[in-house]
């Protein structure tokens, strides 16, 4: 019942927030292009958008984003941000409730505890994946019905964006199941999961700030040495990479190398958490 309710709320909430973000975006753009003679959604607007994206992200990457219906991009950002919350609410009692009520004792004499842990983690991940797929389809239907993009384009981007959310959702699910398995009280598990996710977010922010200082220092040093238009090298932000959503940006790249730089560490991160969780839960007394 909890799963069904959360699915309904997540789809309705995700759709509502997506539409709100999309509406605010159109208002913002309409304001920006007012008086230029370009109307929102017109071929001129599309060309303007393509050039803008290409300038910031390069020809390949910019071209990819420029063709994407805005509502779908808004949905992708919303799902990336909502995934930790949805995972926390879905997973907090996955194991903790069974530890609390000792229901786990019926299973623990029949199957390995590490199998139980992995089953719970992948089960939660599957549910999140299905919820976001439903949201994707709802947004596609609305986008097509409003004539904002053809069905083929919508489906192509929707499926790709949905696939991009899966690896990070697996890391979130592994974290949540790991924490859930450490507690016998579901409320305590929920607060701990939310607390942990917040800490990861803070670490990412700290990582971002630290990297910005590093870049500023590098540019300052280059100017002092007489370098014109210095281009800072990319700084690795170790703390930020603890935050699973960090990998989703990398996975958006159309370049295979960049994409793999996002996907492989993300999968390794998930595997490490699942391994740690299985190991610790195996040793746990029920």
């Amino acid at each position: 019942m909890k799963g069904i309710l959360l699915t309904v709320f997540a789809v309705l909430g995700g759709f509502g927030v997506t539409m709100l973000a999309y509406w605010l975006f159109t208002i913002f753009i309409a304001d920006k292009i007012a008086g230029t003679g370009v109307t929102y959604g017109s071929p001129e607007w599309q060309e303007l958008k393509r050039k803008g994206f290409e300038e910031v992200l390069g020809v390949e990457q910019g071209g990819f984003f420029a063709q994407m219906p805005e509502a779908l991009f808004a949905m992708f950002q919303i799902t990336v941000w909502l995934t930790p919350l949805l995972v926390a609410l879905m997973s907090f009692d996955a194991i903790s409730a069974e530890m609390q009520h000792r229901s786990l004792r019926y299973w623990s004499v029949r199957c390995r505890k590490e199998s139980l842990f992995l089953g719970k983690a992948f089960g939660q991940w599957s549910v999140v994946a299905i919820v976001w797929l439903i949201l994707d389809l709802v947004v596609v239907i609305v986008t097509v019905a409003r004539g904002q993009a053809p069905l083929g384009t919508c489906l192509l981007y929707a499926v790709r964006l949905w696939l991009f959310t899966l690896p990070t959702a697996l890391v979130w699910s592994a974290w949540a199941t790991l924490v859930s398995s450490a507690f016998k009280s579901p409320p305590l598990a929920l607060f701990s999961i939310l607390g942990l996710f917040f800490v990861l977010f803070v670490l990412r922010s700290v990582g971002d700030i630290w990297a910005a200082f590093q870049v500023a220092q590098e540019v300052k040093d280059a100017i002092a040495k007489g370098v014109e238009n210095p281009v800072p090298t990319k700084h690795i932000r170790p703390l930020a990479y603890l935050y699973p959503n960090e990998y989703s940006d990398l996975m958006l790249s159309v370049r295979a190398g960049e994409f793999m730089k996002g996907l492989l560490p993300c999968l390794a991160y998930a595997a490490a958490l699942l391994g740690l969780g299985s190991w610790s839960f195996r040793r746990r007394e029920v």
Partner: protein
């Protein structure tokens, strides 16, 4: 410890120390379990023979639930070794399908239907799909729950849930069944039926029952292990623990009314003590005045309890004694009260 050794012999379903055989179903060897500073089970050793129905007895905090939990693999010992059918309790590949457990306080998954739950458990035990459903339905029928197949576990009463949990412990053909308080919270009729079910398991598999209900254990079990403060204080056949095979107790009514209606006490000198001592096999006769109880100890190699009872009653009736009750041994309850604080 001497008491432990004195009640256990080679014929006992609870095997003595140092005699590990292929007949051992459950082995505890120097097992210690601590929870922080508290020692719940302290260097405990015992063996339970295959095919026996053995009770784990003791007051609250004696360590019986901890011992039970270590047998089921819920808890790990800090020291020592626990084996079930020669496997560690967590070696599930070896134990799958051979071990059935009825945990005491474990709730059934509320949203699962009873049939789904039992079928799932049977499949996890390695039974093929068709056999799993047959086993699930058969076990549910045994606990009179045929109508609950499609009922959600959350909608079951405490007694019904207990019976479903009992059914899951019996799925397949387990060689060892661990039951924690199997009749707690059940109405007398259902509790009686559960006892009958457990009795029918005798000889088919090894059953270990942890319970506070000593009268019930006395009826069901053929052996028992008495724990107190985390240690075994007695173990052996039930008849040995209760001294049922070498002791007869006869309760007499010693107060009478005379012709005027006033109450008087029959003098102890009227008891046929000499005649009782002369019964073949009787080794000692004592009269416990406070309970008006006559205690006859006898050598079970020379006489059967029933013969001793017959002779003793005959001697007492000849002296026109009023007999209130006759029992073999003291009963488990009295024995456990003696053994534990």
């Amino acid at each position: 410890m001497s008491e432990v050794e004195s009640v256990a012999d080679s014929a006992s379903p609870v095997a003595p120390k140092g005699k590990r055989t292929a007949e051992t179903a459950i082995l505890f060897e120097g097992v210690t379990k601590r929870f922080g500073q508290k020692v719940a089970v302290d260097k405990t050793s015992f063996r339970i023979k295959k095919g026996s129905v053995c009770g784990l007895i003791g007051p609250n905090g004696a360590g019986k639930t901890t011992s039970f939990s270590m047998m089921a693999g819920y808890l790990d010992p800090n020291e020592g070794m626990v084996q079930v059918l020669d496997y560690g309790p967590r070696q599930l590949d070896g134990l799958r399908g051979k071990l059935g457990v009825l945990p005491q306080d474990a709730l059934l998954p509320a949203s699962d239907r009873v049939g789904e739950f039992l079928l799932h458990m049977a499949l996890l035990q390695g039974l093929p799909a068709q056999k799993a459903e047959q086993s699930a339905r058969a076990r549910l029928a045994e606990v009179e729950g045929v109508d609950w197949w499609n009922t959600r576990c959350g909608a079951l009463s405490h007694g019904m849930a207990k019976r479903v949990a009992f059914a899951q412990a019996m799925l397949g053909e387990p060689e060892v069944v661990l039951l924690d308080e199997p009749t707690a919270g059940l109405d007398p009729r259902v509790a009686y039926e559960m006892r009958m079910l457990i009795k029918r398991l005798r000889g088919k598999c090894t059953v270990v029952i942890s319970s506070h209900n000593l009268q019930e254990l006395e009826q069901i079990c053929d052996a028992a292990i008495v724990l107190d403060h985390g240690s075994v204080v007695a173990q052996g056949r039930m008849s040995e623990l209760t001294a049922a095979s070498s002791e007869v107790r006869i309760t007499l009514k010693m107060s009478r009314r005379d012709q005027n209606g006033s109450v008087y006490r029959v003098p102890e000198g009227d008891l046929p003590m000499q005649a009782l001592r002369e019964i073949i096999g009787v080794t000692a006769v004592n009269f416990e005045a406070d309970g008006s109880e006559l205690v006859l100890n006898f050598d079970r190699k020379l006489a059967e309890a029933e013969v001793v009872i017959g002779c003793a009653l005959s001697a007492l009736l000849q002296r026109q004694m009023y007999i209130s009750a006759v029992s073999k041994g003291r009963g488990l309850e009295a024995r456990v009260m003696d053994l534990t604080d």
